[in-house]
């Protein structure tokens, strides 16, 4: 939290230079600084910030003056949660199935899966987004190139169903872009843990009793082998937020990532502090959910 306060303030460049005109009288300049609370000593600014954190009041954004930062975050956070949440869950499911298949089939399928997941992890996220945009957005014109829903719906009215359809339609490319890297990692982890699981005695026993492969894999191996992957999802959180910044910038998707990026460029301290705090909090909650899921899947850790 202290870091959250200090880092933006250490940045060079004056945040109010966009409001303060050098031609203004010194008194007028001072008045604007005072309005933002920037004339108070640093420790008073810090105490005010602490008070803000606990009351959910992060001050007014410099960039979108005079919108409060909390309003901005409330507007933007759901879109980022929607993008990252969908991408995380889909990537987990796809990685799980592919990793399981790779480990179970061995041989050519396995090495193909290994190398393609390594390639997915070497792929620069933002570049994948750019290429998808050019291919599907510009050349083939199948998917929209920016925004999160068609603004034409606002004027033409349209039903809730049309709105949802438009939302999903706009999120396809960003979600695929975010997923690529995650699928690669999940596949690798799932493959390794499946290889470990199928060596266990109970799998051999089931085979000896003549159960068919499908029943063994989906009934027994899947659940046990997916535990390490769940841990991996927790580790991926840092990447997911970074990925959101890049993907939202590429697709001009109005989420937290784009907000942070714009706030950095504009030296918007209050927005940066608020966003950092909320992103960190969200990651913590997500980690907690992962932990709870772990307990649900593995009775051994519940105790």
């Amino acid at each position: 939290m202290v870091l959250n306060f200090l880092i933006p303030r250490l940045m060079p460049g004056n945040p109010v230079s966009r409001f303060v005109n050098p031609l203004m009288s010194p008194a007028a300049q001072h008045q604007i600084l005072e309005q933002f609370g920037l004339t108070k000593p640093l420790y008073v600014q810090f105490l005010l910030y602490l008070k803000g954190v606990f009351t959910g009041n992060f001050g007014l954004s410099f960039l979108y003056y005079p919108t409060p930062v909390s309003t901005l975050i409330v507007q933007r956070l759901p879109w980022t949660l929607f993008l990252t949440g969908t991408a995380t869950v889909l990537a987990a499911l796809i990685g799980m199935v592919l990793g399981l298949l790779a480990a179970w089939k061995r041989g050519k399928v396995d090495s193909a899966a290994l190398y393609s997941s390594m390639a997915l992890r070497s792929l620069p996220t933002f570049w994948l987004g750019l290429v998808l945009l050019i291919l599907f957005g510009v050349t083939l014109k199948v998917f929209p190139t920016s925004g999160y829903f068609s603004t034409s719906l606002l004027t033409s009215g349209g039903g809730v169903l049309l709105f949802i359809q438009s939302l999903l339609y706009h999120s396809v490319l960003p979600i695929i872009t975010l997923m690529a890297y995650l699928v690669g990692g999940n596949l690798l982890i799932m493959r390794a843990s499946t290889l470990n699981t199928i060596r266990e005695d109970y799998v051999t026993t089931l085979k000896a009793f003549g159960y068919d492969d499908g029943k063994i894999v989906y009934g027994h191996v899947l659940k046990n082998a997916s535990l390490p992957m769940l841990t991996n999802i927790g580790i991926q959180m840092g990447y997911i937020v970074s990925g959101a910044v890049l993907v939202e910038t590429v697709f001009s998707y109005p989420g937290m990532g784009l907000l942070v990026y714009q706030a950095v460029l504009a030296r918007d301290y209050p927005t940066l502090q608020g966003s950092f705090f909320v992103l960190t909090l969200t990651t913590l909650v997500a980690l907690l959910v992962v932990d709870l899921l772990y307990g649900l899947l593995d009775p051994r850790v519940r105790r």
Partner: protein, 283 residues
Amino acid sequence: MQSSRGYTDLLGRLVRDPKGAVGLGVILCFTILPFLRPLITKYPPLAVGVGVPNEPPSHLHPMGTTSLGQDVFSQFLAGGLVPVEVGVLTGIFTSLLVVLIAIPAGYYSQRLGRLLTLITDVFLIIPTLPLIILIGVYLGPSLINQVLVLTLISWPFPARVVASQVLSLKERGFVQGAKALGASDARIMFGEILPNVTNLIISNSILVIIFAILFQTAISFLGLGVPTAPGWGNMLYYAEQSGAIASGEWWWVVPPGLGILAVAFGFSLLFLRLEELLGVEVR
């Protein structure tokens, strides 16, 4: 324990396998190409107006031209050095930090080891890219600052792995023996323990290099890199800024990304081969 001869031998075994040979080959190729560029193409990478602006690939310009009429092929050839340089330097700096921090931490106390775990946990939660951007903006745009920022972000994870390894090595016979013979702490840490965690540090540093290459290009793409450095990330930034995406100029966008992909994949192959050779499980 491996002597320096052991490591020359390792290089031989590394390239005898297709994974190691291809990986190392790709990396060396993109590191040398920037120097061979003047022999391959007559256009300097940043020279403006050497061709018609926004032209698709032709025999004159194999990868087309930018909106300023620059030669994309020339930029592509020159663009690999910056990401590889930043990546490798970050790998080296991180390894040094890991040696200086993780070995004493694991050797002296469990408490310091636990502190490392705490730091890595904090780094797991903090949004990585926004943090890199913020520190980067604070330090100012230069390649060495990019290396410093990326090092600052990437050292805790390998440090945690190495410290826990040191903790278990500490109880082994050869360390206890050296202690009984009256060896100093520094002698034990760097003479006895270090050679036993070198493999772990090397393979971890490759993972750091991949991370650094991807993040260096990402920062540059966001326009927060070094504007004058001829890197692939900057190429993509200028392409996006001048509307190459909206007008579908794929020839300007595809090559730099493929370059990043090739180099990062090269390092992954190298990592895979090293893991086999050194017999370490990093994760």
